[in-house]
């Protein structure tokens, strides 16, 4: 039984282990390395904030906060103002949300409450694939398919009925705030559906059963009981989608027109923070130019962090209630 004595010997020898043997067991090292990685992620986040802040200083020192209120954007004259971009960012995102939210919430209700499970799973799978489509592809479709379609089929009726409104004034050349808003809505709808659906599914079965047992129809149960219960979470999903719309770059820059002007009309071209950075950063020269772009990136960063932070709290609140 040579093997037995070998085993007994090896195992027996290990009974008294020194410092290095235990070190090789790996517990301390493993703990330290994984902890180090976790901490370094925190450091990366701090680094992001620092770099954005530090590199915006030139602009901040020159213009101060009035940078955010000024519409003077003239790189040749070294004059910078963020207002047109903030305006465009907000308008396109807002427009996108107005279209996407009703559509998305309605679809999520269908998928979570009304549709049979098999159908719901297949459709959800397809919708989540939509969320995986890269932004530049949406931009591609935007330029070549959507914009001409809007120009041909949407704007003429819109103008004929609502042309008197300031938001539909002026000639439509295609690349505009309207086009960007519509593209954004398409991009953002899958997120709203995905998160809202999960929030709705998390509403306890007991709540639904209580209503149904009293004779309520499926829709009544959904509208009166499930939706209110899930409302915080759905708001969370809306906020998440908003943050995404604000930061969306490629699809917007390809259809928005890239013109730094503020106009009441949705049919006119515009610009957004992400779009101007995408367009002009690579060629920007001069400290003030670059730091102005970075300052706007900092603003965008702050905005999305705050909105995301609130959104996450909303979603967590709903999850806690469900458990």
């Amino acid at each position: 039984m040579a093997a037995t004595s070998y085993i007994a010997e090896t195992l027996g020898r290990r009974t008294s282990r020194g410092f290095f043997a235990r070190l090789r067991g790996g517990d301390e090292i493993s703990y330290l390395i994984t902890l180090a990685c976790t901490v370094s992620i925190l450091l990366i986040v701090c680094l992001i904030v620092y770099e954005l802040w530090f590199n915006s200083q030139a602009t901040f020192k020159t213009f101060g906060f009035s940078f955010l209120k000024s519409s003077a954007w003239d790189p040749n004259a070294d004059k910078y103002g963020a207002l047109p971009f903030i305006y465009g960012t907000c308008v396109t995102a807002f427009l996108g949300m107005i279209i996407a939210v009703p559509l998305g919430v309605a679809a999520s209700i269908f998928l979570a409450e009304m549709a049979p499970p098999k159908l719901s799973n297949i459709l959800t799978f397809l919708i989540e694939l939509l969320a995986a489509v890269p932004s530049v592809i949406y931009g591609l479709l935007g330029i070549f398919i959507l914009v001409p379609a809007i120009k041909a089929y949407l704007v003429p009726p819109l103008k004929s009925v609502f042309g008197f409104l300031p938001i539909f004034e002026g000639t439509f050349y295609g690349l505009s705030l309207l086009s960007a808003g519509i593209v954004l809505s398409v991009m953002v709808v899958p997120f709203i559906i995905s998160v809202s659906r999960e929030v709705l599914l998390a509403v306890p079965v007991e709540q639904r059963e209580a209503a149904l047992a009293l004779g309520a129809t499926k829709w009544e149960t959904t509208w009166d009981i499930v939706l209110p219960y899930a409302s915080t979470g759905i708001f969370g999903s809306i906020f998440l989608a908003l943050a995404r719309a604000l930061g969306e770059t490629m699809a917007v820059t390809m259809v928005v027109g890239n013109t730094p002007k503020i106009s009441a009309s949705l049919l006119s071209p515009g610009y957004s923070i992400a779009a101007v950075i995408a367009n002009e950063f690579a060629e920007a020269n001069g400290d003030l130019y670059i730091s102005s772009l970075i300052f706007m990136a900092l603003v965008l960063f702050g905005l999305t962090i705050v909105i995301n932070a609130i959104a996450r709290i909303f979603i967590m609140t709903t999850q806690k209630r469900g458990s």
């Binding site: 703990y31 976790t38 992620i41 998305g104 530049v136 398409v186 829709w219 930061g247 950063f281 772009l293």
Partner: protein, 284 residues
């Protein structure tokens, strides 16, 4: 006395069902629309040149995106090397070692990082890599995408490690394995299908990212040597060609879009299938 549900209530119920169903169908049809158009415009423009030739100089027709395909591969490789190990090990910490409050805080911060617009990350990579080096590079692009890969790596790792039952861990420790040995020889192998598919989804997501590459990797008409030079990538090429005035380049943009989308969707679908069939699904 039987009370029948009123006609109006029944009508509303049916109406709302239909309405919400229509919304859903509308959304889903967008997907088929996208795929359809890309198929028509892109697949037809696809030819062997696309995969083998370099772009032609301005004004000339023809050429391909061979350098962009390789370039994307290189940048994604860098991104994986930079972002995945750190995210993975942090996920191990959260799942295996961390206390509850700390884990919650980290998870929250990581989720916030995930929500940062990709273009902002691009700027940070610019400040960290391009500025000191005084030129654009694949390394800078890889850094930007790598940072973007971290949050999903952390969350996926944590989720799938936590799903491994306590039973199995205790079985290993009862044989005299240390906690670290248990984690790396039993827990991680048990979660491997989930971890792999999470990695794939992560990769698919950053493979399509364009914005951060615009001023980190920049672009290149020719082959790039190594990782310290500006480099062409597929998404950036699509963007550049799409906004150019030339019809021929538009065609190539469609072809590239088709290739990119196919790649992304194939990885996505495979990853989800792995999860659906993996051990964690069987455990349920």
């Amino acid at each position: 006395m039987m009370m029948e549900i009123s006609t109006s209530r029944r009508f509303i119920n049916g109406f709302m069902l239909t309405l919400s169903g229509i919304c859903t169908v509308l959304v889903v049809s967008v997907l088929f629309f996208i795929l359809g158009y890309l198929l028509i415009h892109g697949a037809t423009s696809l030819n062997w040149d696309f995969f083998t030739k370099l772009p032609k100089p301005a004004g000339e027709t023809g050429g391909g995106m061979a350098n962009a395909i390789v370039g994307s591969g290189k940048v994604l490789l860098l991104a994986t090397v930079i972002g995945v190990p750190i995210g993975f090990l942090a996920g191990v910490f959260l799942a295996e070692y961390s206390g509850k409050t700390f884990a919650f805080a980290i998870r929250y911060v990581v989720d916030l990082l995930n929500g940062v617009p990709s273009i902002v990350i691009g700027i940070v990579a610019y400040a960290l890599v391009v500025r000191p080096m005084h030129h654009f590079s694949a390394l800078a692009g890889g850094t930007a995408l790598g940072i973007m890969m971290i949050p999903i790596a952390v969350r996926t790792t944590e989720e799938f490690l936590r799903s491994v039952p306590v039973n199995i861990r205790e079985g290993a420790m009862a044989l005299g394995a240390t906690k670290a040995t248990t984690i790396f020889t039993v827990v991680i192998p048990a979660a491997i299908s989930g971890l792999t598919s999470g990695m794939m989804l992560n990769l698919a997501r950053v493979a399509g990212e364009t914005a951060p590459l615009l001023f980190t990797a920049l672009g290149n008409q020719y082959w790039s040597k190594g990782y310290l030079a500006p480099i062409a990538t597929l998404p950036v090429m699509i963007y550049n060609y799409a906004i150019s005035p030339e019809e021929d380049l538009h065609k190539q943009a469609w072809a590239a879009g088709f290739v990119l989308l196919t790649l992304v969707l194939v990885i996505n679908v495979s990853a989800r299938l792995i999860i659906a069939r993996g051990p964690s699904a069987q455990r349920r």
